[in-house]
Symmetry: C2
Subunit: 190 residues, 2 copies
Amino acid sequence: MSLNPLREFVVSLTRLVESGATEPRILEQGRELVGQLVAKDDWLPEAFAQPHPQYYQQYLLYADPQERFSVVSFVWGPGQKTPLHDHTVWGVVGVLRGRERERRFDHQADGSYREVEAGVLGAGGVTAVSPSIGDVHIVENALDDQVSISIHVYGGNIGRVSRHVFDAASGEARTFISGYASDVVPNLWS
Amino acid sequence: MSLNPLREFVVSLTRLVESGATEPRILEQGRELVGQLVAKDDWLPEAFAQPHPQYYQQYLLYADPQERFSVVSFVWGPGQKTPLHDHTVWGVVGVLRGRERERRFDHQADGSYREVEAGVLGAGGVTAVSPSIGDVHIVENALDDQVSISIHVYGGNIGRVSRHVFDAASGEARTFISGYASDVVPNLWS
Ligand SMILES: [Fe+3]
Ligand SMILES: [Fe+3]
Ligand SMILES: [Mg+2]
């Protein structure tokens, strides 16, 4: 197993954010790069693919030292899912293993959030979020009997970003900071 | 224990190399930054401070994605030492724990290497190497009965740099690539 695909991804994304690209350009290019990264499931080290019996896990794989972007491995145990939440920064998500269901929500005039779209992504599939294209969703493992893993890239150090979970019916928001599941990240040059 | 000192160091050094500073400027500023980093021995995670019974260990702590610099924890068991070697890139070394002895060598007209200087650095001490200021030395743990640890910063991804070990008497050179002791690095944001 070689970390080359992850390292090449990090190098390319560093170049992209350093180019001063606009968000639409970053999302377009980012989708392409994430698509390449998840096209082959042969590079994620086992330590960053471990599910937790109760909670989906967020393993930091790389964070830009200037916190302009971060790369995270989301590991979903059977049936695990997020609450309704936002990101406040752009994000590109690619499915590396298994299947993921995403449900998109819109803020309604009465303050509530209503589901407006739902879809399932298989391995190799890519999607994106951001405040400008739709930022509020629920994501879940579409498989009841096995682990799914997706690779997420965000326009910030997502584990440290103050963002929100929502109660869909009332629209009530609580701020949260997700943190990361591990105190180590892969050595890209090992 | 907080990784803040290491994270702040990485951010500052990234800024320094991005400024396009010349090598003398990088060495001057780098010595200051390394001095601050090793002034307090309260941040290095245990996993990156583990000695090996036979060999000194080189744990990558951070590598710039563009490989413009790397930060490495050298962990010396009692009495362990390097062969005579060069670096081919600039390097700044600070002692975090224990004591380190450095012996500098010059290339002689007859092809051999001769010791021209030797010194011992205690915790908090900082030194530098580079092809322009002297690049060939032997480094060893100055303590026979305990571990010493130094933090090294290099102007490249040192674990991947092709460089040399020398036979002092004959001057014979062998190329080597050191690699790294671990397949993970600290999560600077954990
Ligand atoms: Fe999300
Ligand atoms: Fe050296
Ligand atoms: Mg730059």
